[in-house]
């Protein structure tokens, strides 16, 4: 039995969906992409060509939901299905699109460049808690017009895991789809075994921008998975109530799915988001707030009710340092996400409202994820009798008796998560002997070790060269003659 957190009664889910459908008609959805409006109009929606507001009748949405896959996988470089979108599968990936990274020595938030992303990729690659990579930070040392494709390029070189990514324009999404096809061995192969999923954001309240809707259409036609990241902010860009926010979230997702399925029925798409409350003192969007996690748990329940795969943004903190606040917000919210059975939970490693990344935080968060996954594993029955079978003739009524049982050796790894050195369970004496390090200092040691033990995956050199040539061409079109030099990658 997978333990589950449920915040909504079925009756309430039905009400949420009912009102979401009402929102699709009144006030309707503002669709700022001509092709999307045309698709909707063709299907029977009423389009106001002056305001770009579209009224989407329920039956068009139903049809779209019918053609949407209930389940699909992401594949690693070797073609193994390592991420399952659907049901109550739970995966974690590092947060994406940070613009700074915590410098572990100065504690400044440095503007991110190529080496920062490479460092994060190397660390996340070796932590099994992360089933997927993300294009974690923007590299500011390349021209803005290629920053999204360049992130994917680096991820494809340094990782064999599936990748959660996203494009910044309608032009680059196509380029990035082409990059994935190079590694997969063609567009058909890329469609059959997708390596990456693209986050696509509506704008709250109830807007699908030209760029967002354009991305949905391009991804649907390419058969590359899309992940709706709807970002309602309770009290500012969405109703102040949780139920109101979840309802608006549902309306934005339903509209997105409809546009997507109208562009190409059957392409994979995910009900996701980065919902948050709006902090009324600072005007901020706290990702570590418990209400943020509650919104996510709630919208995931709505998604599951209609059989959609799920995504959310949890496991992050608003703290500026990897400190106690970071630990508690990240750990608690990761646990809530896992117990909500959300298929992909993005956000680990991130500080400061998803703007700053930290490799040290990634290794600490990995332990929070392990705790959450252990929780999901539940309390299992491993033996015929619960206890009586343990008390055999060797029992001497001594404390160590059970350490001497074969079954202890067989089962302790199943029953207990064995944490990394980031978690301190040493005696005071041993802890002092090891340098009296706090969590952050221990994480720094682990990051250093992971960077030292990292090995770049073996990727077909012909594909790597083709990828590099493709990226170099994009760079030249963007006005630069070369890409930043990468220490351990010298393409032919």
């Amino acid at each position: 039995m997978q333990p589950k957190l449920l915040l909504l009664e079925e009756e309430m889910i039905i009400r949420i969906l009912d009102e979401a459908y009402q929102l699709l008609l009144k006030p309707g959805i503002k669709v700022n992409n001509e092709e999307a409006r045309d698709l909707l109009a063709l299907a029977g929606a009423k389009v106001d060509s002056e305001t770009n507001i579209v009224q989407i009748p329920e039956q068009i949405v139903h049809k779209a939901l019918e053609s949407t896959p209930r389940e699909f996988h992401l594949y690693d470089y070797e073609g193994n299905p390592t991420v399952r979108y659907g049901g109550d599968a739970v995966h974690f990936d590092p947060g994406s699109s940070g613009i700074t990274m915590l410098n572990p020595e100065t504690l400044e938030h440095d503007t991110t460049e190529t080496p920062h992303l490479i460092k994060l990729l190397k660390v996340a690659e070796q932590l099994p808690q992360y089933d997927a990579q993300s294009t974690a930070v923007v590299c500011h040392d390349v021209p803005q017009t290629i920053q999204d494709s360049y992130r994917l390029y680096l991820s494809l070189i340094y990782s064999r895991k599936p990748i959660v990514t996203g494009a910044f324009t309608n032009k680059t999404v196509t380029e990035m789809i082409d990059m994935l096809a190079i590694l997969a061995g063609g567009h058909a192969a890329s469609r059959e075994k997708p390596r990456a999923i693209f986050d696509v954001c509506p704008a709250p309240p109830l807007i699908w921008s030209n760029f967002g809707a354009g991305n949905l259409i391009a991804l649907a036609r390419a058969g590359v998975p899309a992940e709706i990241v709807s970002v309602p902010l309770s009290g500012a860009a969405a109703p102040v109530t949780m139920l109101g926010t979840v309802t608006q979230h549902a309306a934005e997702c339903l509209a997105g799915i409809t546009i997507h399925q109208l562009a190409h029925a059957g392409s994979p798409i995910v009900w996701g988001g980065a919902a948050a409350i709006f902090d009324m003192r600072k005007g901020a969007t706290p990702m570590g707030a418990v209400e943020t996690a509650m919104l996510d748990c709630s919208y995931a329940q709505v998604a599951k009710y209609i059989g959609m795969p799920t995504h959310t943004y949890l496991g992050a903190t608003d703290s500026k340092l990897v400190d106690a606040q970071a630990g508690l917000e990240s750990g608690i919210s990761a646990m809530i996400g896992a117990l909500s059975g959300i298929n992909m939970i993005s956000g680990s490693g991130m500080l400061d409202f998803l703007s700053c990344h930290s490799a040290e935080k990634l290794v600490i968060d990995a332990e929070g994820i392990s705790m959450a996954k252990r929780m999901l594993g539940g309390v299992q029955l491993h033996t015929e009798t619960l206890a009586t079978g343990f008390y055999d003739h060797n029992i001497n009524f001594k404390g160590g008796d059970f350490l001497k049982q074969k079954i202890t050796m067989q089962l302790f790894r199943k029953e207990q998560h064995l944490p990394s050195d980031v978690i301190d369970r040493a005696s005071m004496r041993d802890w002092k002997k090891a340098g009296s390090l706090d969590t952050f200092e221990r994480a720094k040691v682990m990051v250093t070790n992971l960077l030292a033990s990292y090995k770049r995956p073996e990727i077909d050199p012909a594909k790597l060269t083709a990828l590099h040539v493709f990226m170099l061409d994009l760079a030249r079109k963007a006005g630069v003659e070369s890409l930043p030099l990468i220490e351990d990658f010298q393409p032919a």
Partner: protein
Amino acid sequence: MSEELYKEMAQSIIDGDSDIAIELAKKSIELKMHPLETITKGFVIGVNYIGDQFGAGEAFLPELVMAGEAMKAAVAVLEPELLKLGEAREMMGKVVLATVEGDIHEIGKTLVGTMLSASGFEVVDLGVDQPADKIIGKALEINADIIGMSALLTTTMVRQREVIEELDKEGLRPRIKVMVGGAPITRDWVTKIKADGYSEDAIGAVKIAKELVGKADQ
């Protein structure tokens, strides 16, 4: 042939599988392999491996204990053969182990006992809540080289000093060496009560015990 068997023996210890260790020990007797070599070239390799792995954080307590138990089981099969040959496995030394009076915690002490046995010490484990006279009496009875005392509580660790003072009064040191252990034990405490050695875990205890009997290189 014997090389292959040695490897299997080491593996049986690493797997903590007493049944296979016993089976292999019996097989070595049938094959007329020298029992001492069987121990040192076969089984001991496995114990050392697990000890190293434990030290490196790669192996865990159940594996360490099971390896120790498998080692004891194999040696129990081979010891009569050694006696028949008129040889004995060179005994590292004799150890009396106890948790001090007023203290009933013994998981760590029992682990130390298992690892010392597996490493060639003869161990008499008196158990928990043992007064000084009982510990010293047993040490004299078996002509022990080492007394090992554990205490988990700061309130009971003072009993370790009482035993040492008693030994000094009787003039039994340095003939009998004293090792102490337990969660609250620090190097300062060891110096203060003039114990001969202490360790923070069972693997370290084996090393210290070997040093105390002048066999650090074995």
